[in-house]
Amino acid sequence: MRRRRVVAVALKELLQVWRDPRSLMLALLMPVIQMMLLGFGANLDVAHIPTCTLDQEGSPFSEDLLKRFQASRYFDIVRVLRGTGDIARAMDRGECRLAVVVPAGFSRQLAGARQASVQVILDATDANTASLAAGYARAVVGGFAADVQLEVAQRAGLAALPQPVAANARVWFNEQLESRNFIIPGVVALVLALVGAQLTSLTVSREWERGTMELLLSTPVTRTELMVGKLLPYFLIGLLDAAICVGFALLVFKVPFRGSYATLLLAVALFLAVVLSIGYLVSVSIRSQIGASQIALFLTVMPISLLSGFAFPIDQMPPVIQGLTYVVYARYFVTTLKAVFLKGSGVAALWPQLLALAAYAAVVTALAARAFRKRLP
C-alpha cells in the first residue's frame, strides 16, 4: 500500500465532502439535530399524568387522600368531576388518563376499621404508561393507608406497629431512574451509524454515476488503497460527530459520565470501523446513489433502533429475538456506551463487547475490500 496514493484519495474525498453542502450538513448538522430531537423527545418516564378526581364523599379524609395525589409529581389534577357519568366522557376526550374516585361512605369504612376502597380507573390504551401510573397510584394510596393505620394505632393506645418487612430499594448507576440517561448513549450510536453509513454509502456509487470510477480503475490505485483513502476522512468526521454527541450528552442532558475517555474512544473507533465498512460495502455493491443510501439506512437505523437495546431492553425480548441481537453489531456498542457512561466500566469488564466489535469490523472490512472489483462487469 502506497501512502501517497492513499493520501491523494483521502484528500480528494475530503475536498469533495467539504464542497458538497448536503454532505457537510449531514456530517455536522445532523448529529446536533438528532441529539436534540431524540434526547429531548425520547423519554420513557411517566410523570404529570393528567388525572381527574371524583370525590363522592367530600369528607376531610377524602380530601386528604386526593390532596396527596395533587402533591405527587406523578399526577396533575386537571379536572374535578361531578359524577360518574363524567368519567367516561373525560377519558374519551383524552382529558385525563386516570381517574380517582373516592366513594361515599369512605370515612365511615375507615372509622369502622373495615377495608375502605378507592377506585382508580385507567386509560390503558398506552399499556406501559397505564401500568406505571397504576403503580404510582397504589403507592400514593398505600402511603395514605399506612398513615391512617398509624393514627388508628396511636388512638387505640398501641405503640407504633412494627413493619414486618421493609424492602429497601437502592438504585445503582442511574439513581434518578432517569430514562434519559440510558437512552442517550443509545442515541449516540444511532447518530454515528446514521451519519457514517449514509456518507460512505454514497462515496463509491457517486464515482460510478459520475464516470470517474472507470478512470480510477485504470490507474495503479489498489483496492485497499482506495478503501482506506476513501474511509479515512469519514472516520475523522465520525470522531468529530462522536465528540459533538458526547458533548451534548454531558453538557445539555447532564448524563453522568463515570468511565474513562480512552475506553470511550476505543469503542467509538471500533464502532465507526464497522459502520463505515458497512456503508462502503453497500456503496460498492449498489451502483446508484439513491439505492445505496436507502439500503445503508436499512442496515443501520433499523437494527439499532429496534434490536440494540437502545430503547427496548434486550432481556425483555423473546429468546429468539434475543439470539438475533447477538448478530446486531450495535448491541455491543450500546451496551459498552451505557456501561462506560453510567457504570464507569473499563476495558477489563468490557473486553467481550469490544472484542465482538473488533471481530465485526474485521469481517465487514474484509468483505468490503474484496467485494470491490477492479474490473468492469
Binding site: R5, K12, G211, E214, S218, L376
Partner: protein
Amino acid sequence: MSDAAPVVSASRISKAFGAVRAIDELSFEVARGEIFGLVGPDGAGKTTILRVIAGVMAADSGAVSVDGVDVLAEPERVREHISYMPQRFGLYEDLTVDENIRFYAEVFEVPRAVRQQRAARLLQASGMEPFRRRLAGQLSGGMKQKLGLTCSLVHAPRIVLLDEPTTGVDPVSRREFWEILYGLREEGVTILISTAYLDEAERCDRLALLHEGRMVYCESPLQLRRRMPGAMIEVPTPAARAARDCLAVLPGVRGVLMVGDGVHVHLDVADDGPARLQAALRAAGIPHELPRAIMPSVEDLFVALVGGGGVRR
C-alpha cells in the same frame, strides 16, 4: 510500418454482453509512435475495445498485449504503462483544475517538482493557464476535454488511450486537441483514439473501421480512399428528389444521396459517367448544373464498404 515490435497487439478478442456481441474476433496491431484510430458509429464496440486494452474490462477470449505485458493475465501491470481517458473524462467536477491534476499526479506518484513543471507546460499549451483555480464542473466541454487530457498526460505515459474525446466539442477545441496529439506523436507517444466522427478517421495515421463489433477495414486513410470503388459525382440541382428518382435506376449507379444543394451520385465507372447522368436528367427535364467529381467522404467509404452504397429505391 516500423520494424520494432508493435506496442499494442490485439488478437481475436471477443466480448459479449448477454446476447449482444460487443466485439467479435477483433485483431489489430499498433506501432510505436503512431496515432491509431478506432472509427465507427455508436455500438461498434470502440469503448469496449479500449476498456479491454486498458485492463479495465476482461475479454471473453483472445489475447491482448501492451508493451509486452499480457493484459488479460496481468491487468495491474498494464496500468503503469498506459493512460486511459474514458468518454466522460473522469474529472472531479467539485475539484479545481489544479486539484484534479494534482490528484492524478499523486496517484501515479509523480514527483512534485516534475508535476508542477509538466502541468504548467500542458496548461500553457492548451490555453488553460488562467483557469487553474476554476472548478472543473464550471468548464466548457472543450476545456473539460483538454483538462482530461492534461490529467492523463501528467505522468508522461508512453501509451495513451482516448475514448471519444472530441464528441460534441467545438471545432476550435477539436483542432487544438489534435495539435496536442500531433505534438505527442513527435515525442514518440503511441496514441489509440476512438471516434464516432467518421471524418476524424483521416486525422489518424492508421485506423480500424468498425461496425457492430467487427473490423471492416484496417489500414491508412490514404489507402482507404483508394479502396473506394468507382467515383463520386456531385450534381447541383434544385430538384434533388426528382433527380434522385431519375438517376438511381440507371445502370452503373451504386447509389444516390440527396444533399442540401443537389445529389451525390456514386458511380461504378467514372469515364462516361457524368455525361450519362446529364443525358438522363436532360431527358427527364430536370434542371441541373454541371456535374463534377468530388472526393468521397469517409462516410461514403463506410457505407460503400458496409452498407452496399447509398440509398437505392
